[in-house]
Amino acid sequence: MSTYAQKKGFGATLWDFLTTVDHKKIAILYLIAGGFFFLVGGLEAIFIRIQLAVPNNDFVSAGLYNEILTMHGTTMIFLAAMPLIFAFMNAVMPLQIGARDVAFPFVNALGFWLFFFGGIFLNLSWFLGGAPDAGWTSYASLAVASKGHGVDFYILGLQISGFGTLIGGINFLVTIINMRAPGMTYMRMPLFSWTTFVTSALILFAFPPLTVGLVLMMFDRLFGAKFFEVSMGGNTIIWEHLFWIFGHPEVYILILPAFGIFSEIFPMFSRKRLFGYSSMVFATVLIGFLGFMVWAHHMFTDGLGPVANAIFAVATMAIGVPTGIKIFNWLFTMWGGSVKFTTPMHYAVAFIPSFVAGGVTGVMLASAAADYQYHDTYFVVAHFHYVIVGGVVFGILAGTHLYWPKMFGTMLNETMGKITFWLFLIGFHLTFFIQHFLGLWGMPRRVFTYLPGQGFETANMISSVGAFFMAVAVIVLLLNIIITSVKNVRVGNDPWGDGRTLEWSIPSPPPFYNFKQLPLVRGLDAYWLEKMDGKKGMTPAEPLGDIHMPNSSFLPFMMALGLFIAAFGAMYHVNDKAWALPLLIFGLLVTFGSMFMRSVKDDHGFHIHKEDLMEDTEKGAKA
């Protein structure tokens, strides 16, 4: 492989990654950055659990606790879970639909850098006077009252990274609509690509309300607007609505791709096609649609009135139906199959009871009158960690093991993988199961401590112990990654042996142009069909020809950097710092200058010639 496998120096590799527009490399960037933020968020979780292990603890102070709590939620949702999911969407979806590239490689890179700089900006708050402390929901009255720059970091950081997510979503949508391989109809698309599609659509419609909410909050905090100032006619409920109109779809943005990953794993390791494929597709779309109709279930105790509460309660319950359809389809995919318990399959199997437990408590929460008791207690904390950790994090961990060979060309160690799994599973249930009861016994959430004698001691201790199991599990995973990367045993196209979809029909990692010739797709599970017909690979849909590829570019990095700089200017401008306004203008100039450069300099990309491709084949055959 002439162009791909060349050894490069560190500087060259770094430059390569800073300028890359290749979706597979961007996937790796997302994986690294998301993984890093997962560790940060996890460390914050550990601090939370240490503080709450015993009553009246003073491991951290009250104010600091609120910062840790806020940053834990914000980091995990926006900077860990979403980017990790984006990593898999980037790495796998184009391969699954048989595309050479995504629709907008440049925009794809820009999306990553915006997320990255937004995340860095947010976390710099720790070193620049304090992190945001109004909860990840940042409800307006408290957020506007919050002193210092913490909440400003939240507003600006999320604004920048949210914009990255939005354009990333558009890119995936266009890729799926326009760039499917010949024969890859919508109803032949693997479920992970389907969930990518629906998730991207949710992103497209859910992020604008967040953007508006953040803009209003920014105007209030930095430019003297009065949206949330009640004495000036403002209204804080506006923020809550905007946040949750975004926030509820957001949780499905997280869970649907995880569902997608599991929908790949169950058929693979059961050697059986997905049970009820079309109803799975239908359920995915339905969940996405209903996801926009239920946001006010987070606001049952706001006093919106019984009519609104009743409507939103019933609408929320309805989501249980399509989700149930999925659960049973997965179970019946395994039914009658030939189930092999690889590490990814462990996660997939454990996901079912864990997620169902979290899902049904969700339906309990949906019962508005009863939610007056659950709301803002540890019962809710238990609910959402059951769905998020038992669903999203399990999905991410499963995906990591499953797609690692495809992304890096080497397998993670299975034994260590299973150790990670068991430790994490035990720790997870230990931590969060008992929290249901804490909530019911009367423990509110977001408390930095609790007084002795209320019956919360034992349960909190158990919960904290569980968190450490998860920490050890994560450390084993890190060791696994290091050890296997050092050994670097190369693997072939289909290292699991049970691959069903297109990504397993090409080398691991794939060449930078993915498919030498676009494959002809003859049905669902295209690669499996060919294998069952006794063929070794896909039948090409086109003769070998030149391939058009995009050029690398440093501009995405610069555009994001510009906004990062400008954000500092906007923030310190309220302190009457003389340099703030110039900094703001300078940052915006960098961004708009880069955009200008991009639009005036034609970029036609380049072509890989037929001859080089043939040479590649020969070398590949020899290697």
Partner: protein, 111 residues
């Protein structure tokens, strides 16, 4: 995925046909522009002329706006042409989400 040739074998015939098509479309567009201006005039008149109640005027001018926007979308932005299935799907989905938002904000923000 390279594109199929859209033109027929004989470029001249094709060009003639296309010219005629675009000229025809241009006529539609001018008509719809005139209608848009006309609708705008009515809307402003409905507000400018005293004597209508708000209960009549508000729904009426909103209706005029909706009609006018449909002209914009279907004639100026060519949504009536084929190949706009995905754009319409997403535009209408966005519209749906937006309308629900507006409905919520005019009912359950209080007052």
């Amino acid at each position: 995925m390279t594109n199929q040739e859209i033109n027929s074998g004989n470029p001249r015939v094709d060009i003639e046909y296309r010219r005629k098509k675009s000229a025809e479309e241009m006529r539609y567009q001018i008509v719809s522009f005139s209608l848009m201006i006309f609708l705008t005039l009515i809307a402003f008149a409905a507000v400018g002329i005293k004597g209508f109640t708000a209960w009549f005027t508000v729904p009426f001018i909103i209706l005029l706006a909706v009609v006018q926007v449909i002209f914009q979308l279907y004639y100026f932005m060519h949504m009536s042409h084929k190949g706009h299935e995905a754009p319409s799907l997403f535009l209408y989905s966005g519209l749906l989400v937006g309308l629900i938002t507006i409905l919520a904000f005019s009912t359950i923000i209080w007052w």
